[in-house]
């Protein structure tokens, strides 16, 4: 019991120390200052576009054109994209500074000699991750201000979709923190860690690019990159497999950091432990991909078919097989995926989709026999269609299943929340007040700490 108490007390002191170190680091204050203008430029541009689409200054007649007036797509996705930028290009440096700083200054050699602490490296990494996450939450006050401003404009807020976006960016920040902690512990110098972290970020972009060109396994892997993950959350979609894979990566990154942070452990042992951790993480991630539950929290149900269609599809128990003769870069394939198949997989997880193509762009396959055909097979019956819209796909499935399509419920259609209001005061808040308040707070807090 006393050992547990001692451990807890030491951990509390570590957290306090990490917090002071974060507050003392210029990199965090720079992140905070930059968050204002970054969020501001995205928010102001998004609100302007939203207002114009809503009929501001007579630009359009804004009367219910569905998705166009969803604050999630029109305002929150672009506004919070500033968080994605900050997480990719600013947060890693804050994390690296916090982890590498101790090695550079020699504090690591002192702290790791705590006599009563079980796994002091794990405790240190946990304390750092906790404080960095808190630091990120404080930085998230900038997009929170955007939410407040939007509300004052009379904008509609649908909490579930907003919470989903925030959660997605928090998870993304967790991934960045874990990556930064791992690279900072693996390398001797912070600049090497920074290069390594950015290389991994660029690497995930390359995976996305290859996936867009080649499809197949790459496409599946690209679904778990931070960019793809954030994009789904920004559309109000929570996929359990994506959340679990992200959490597994966060734990793996922090674990790797703890392995390499320790002192007095032979390099060979650390390498072996890292390999074991990598293998375990890969196995866990693979297992996570089999968890199919997902939740569409968007108000406009942008990731789902109409409720009546979903109810009907759930009654079809026979496995569905789809063979689409479309190249990875063919815009029709992108349409088919986004408008229909991604929604279909959520309702009918056992659906098998098989793409057939000889080229990546499809341009020179247009005249090839069968190109552009989408074959549906259900219970031994087959049908072919070339339509890539949700309605077309559903029609083919209903035809094969021999069921009558449900009647369209006009009342349940999302009509949107048009708002023809300019982003009044936002520029002053994000470009003036926010940076001034952050700089003043930084001066005050740092002076007080000294």
């Amino acid at each position: 019991m006393s050992s547990w108490l001692s451990h807890r007390r030491a951990l509390t002191w570590l957290v306090r120390k990490e917090w002071r170190e974060l507050v003392a680091s210029r990199s965090w204050w720079i992140l905070l200052v930059a968050m204002g203008p970054l969020v501001g430029v995205s928010f102001i541009s998004a609100v302007r576009t939203y207002a114009e689409a809503s009929g501001f200054n007579g630009t359009a007649v804004g009367q219910g054109v569905g998705e166009a007036f969803s604050p999630l797509i029109g305002v929150w996705a672009p506004t919070f994209s500033a968080c994605e930028l900050a997480a990719a290009f600013l947060l890693p440096f804050v994390g690296i500074r916090l982890v590498s700083g101790d090695r550079q200054s020699g504090a690591l050699k002192i702290e790791l000699q705590h006599p009563g602490m079980q796994s002091p490296a794990v405790a240190r990494v946990s304390a750092k991750a906790l404080v960095l996450l808190a630091g990120w939450l404080i930085a998230s006050a900038a997009p929170a201000l955007a939410v407040v401003l939007w509300r004052t404009y009379g904008g509609s807020i649908y909490p579930p979709e907003l919470v989903t976006v925030v959660f997605g960016h928090l998870l993304n920040a967790g991934l960045t923190i874990a990556l930064a902690a791992a690279t900072a512990s693996l390398t001797e110098h912070p600049s090497t860690a920074a290069i390594l972290t950015l290389s991994v970020t660029v690497g995930t972009w390359i995976v996305n690019f290859i996936a867009a060109v080649n499809g197949g396994v790459w496409e599946r892997a690209a679904g778990y990159t931070p960019t793809a993950m954030v994009a789904e959350f920004q559309h109000g979609l929570i996929r359990l497999d994506v959340v679990l894979v992200a959490l597994a990566l966060v734990v793996a990154g922090l674990g790797l950091s703890a392995i390499w942070m320790r002192l007095g452990v032979p390099v060979r042992r650390r390498v072996n432990e890292s390999i074991a951790l990598g293998a375990l993480t890969a196995a866990v991630m693979f297992a996570c991909t089999f968890f199919t539950p997902s939740w569409d929290t968007s108000e406009n149900r942008g990731n789902s078919f109409a409720e009546a269609d979903e109810e009907m599809l759930k009654t079809i128990r026979t496995p569905l097989r789809i063979e689409a003769h479309l190249a990875p870069e063919d815009p029709r394939r992108v349409d088919l995926e986004h408008r229909a198949l991604s929604k279909l997989r959520r309702v009918m997880p056992k659906t098998q989709v098989h793409y057939v193509s000889s080229t990546t762009i499809g341009l020179f396959e247009q005249t090839a026999p069968h190109y552009g055909e989408i074959w549906y097979e259900l219970g031994g019956r087959k049908t072919m269609s070339r339509v890539t819209t949700a309605e077309g796909v559903l029609e083919s499935i209903y035809e094969l299943a021999g069921v009558t399509p449900p009647a369209e419920d006009e009342a349940s259609l999302f009509r949107g929340h048009p708002l023809a209001v300019p982003p009044k005061g936002a520029a002053t808040v994000f470009y003036g007040i926010w940076p001034a308040v952050i700089v003043a707070t930084a001066l005050f807090v740092r002076r007080r700490q000294a």
């Binding site: 006393s2 108490l5 001692s6 007390r9 030491a10 002191w13 570590l14 306090r16 120390k17 002071r20 170190e21 003392a24 680091s25 101790d102 200054s105 020699g106 504090a107 050699k109 002192i110 702290e111 790791l112 000699q113 705590h114 006599p115 009563g116 002192l263 007095g264 452990v265 032979p266 700490q449 000294a450």
Partner: protein, 246 residues
């Protein structure tokens, strides 16, 4: 008594420590003497668990210590570090006292007293509000020693504790270290200035080229030096003894 047996450390083909053996007695001030590059810091880092040794063992009264057991007995204070450079000396001392457990079962008054004692002994009062990163070499050395003295392990390994200190400060710090040894804490000090070592240490371990060339009190080492010289030397000071044995 802590016994180091055949401790070996290699960096690739270079052998930094070759089967180093020595004993550390409770409450003594033991000096590790050796020229630059003799392996003093490497030996301390291996003893402190900061570096993995390639061979050898550390035992206490015949019982080989595990890494955790060693960590509970030995604290290694490195040389030339500036931990938490943005934090003040006062905060760093509070952190060490809190983190290493002074506040664990005692009241914060006890820890404040302990900190105040160390601050007084090392004349740190004027530096308490200064960030560690802004201190001069000598000031930082005193702050580091205060950190080392606040740790709870019974054996303190201090790497070059007098480096950067002037004569007056060296004498004061030597007195402080001796008083802590008198209170029961074992001091193992790595010192390259032999005159400083002679001033403060009870016994010595002479290290040269990663090997132990001698261990004992000045008298014991002098006798050994005489044997090595095949006759009495010019004098019995530590410098001559060191030169004769290394």
């Amino acid at each position: 008594m802590l016994h180091v047996s055949n401790l070996t450390k290699r960096y690739g083909h270079l052998t930094a420590l070759s089967e180093v053996s020595c004993s550390i007695r409770p409450g003594e001030v033991l000096g590790l003497i050796g020229p630059n590059g003799s392996g003093k810091t490497t030996l301390f880092e291996c003893l402190g668990g900061v570096l993995p040794a390639d061979g050898g063992s550390i035992s206490e009264n015949g019982h080989a210590l595990t890494a955790d057991e060693r960590k509970a007995r030995v604290f290694y204070l490195p040389d030339a570090i500036a931990p938490w450079p943005a934090q003040t000396v006062h905060w760093a001392l509070e952190f060490i006292a809190g983190f290493f457990g002074w506040r664990e079962s005692d009241t914060s008054d006890t820890s404040d007293t302990v900190i105040a004692d160390v601050v007084r002994q090392l004349d740190l009062e004027p530096l308490l509000d200064s960030p560690i990163g802004t201190l001069s070499k000598g000031q930082r050395k005193r702050a580091l020693l205060a950190i080392g003295l606040l740790t709870p392990q019974p054996i303190l390994l201090a790497d070059e504790p007098f480096d950067g200190l002037d004569l007056r400060q060296t004498r004061e710090v030597a007195g402080t270290l001796r008083s802590h040894a008198g209170a029961g804490r074992t001091m193992f000090l790595s010192i390259h200035q032999i005159t400083d070592a002679a001033r403060v240490c009870d016994r010595f371990v002479l290290l040269s080229g990663g090997r132990v060339c001698g261990e004992g009190t000045l008298d014991e080492l002098s006798r050994r030096a005489d044997r090595a010289r095949q006759g009495p030397g010019a004098s019995d000071n530590l410098e001559d003894v060191f030169l004769a044995l290394t």
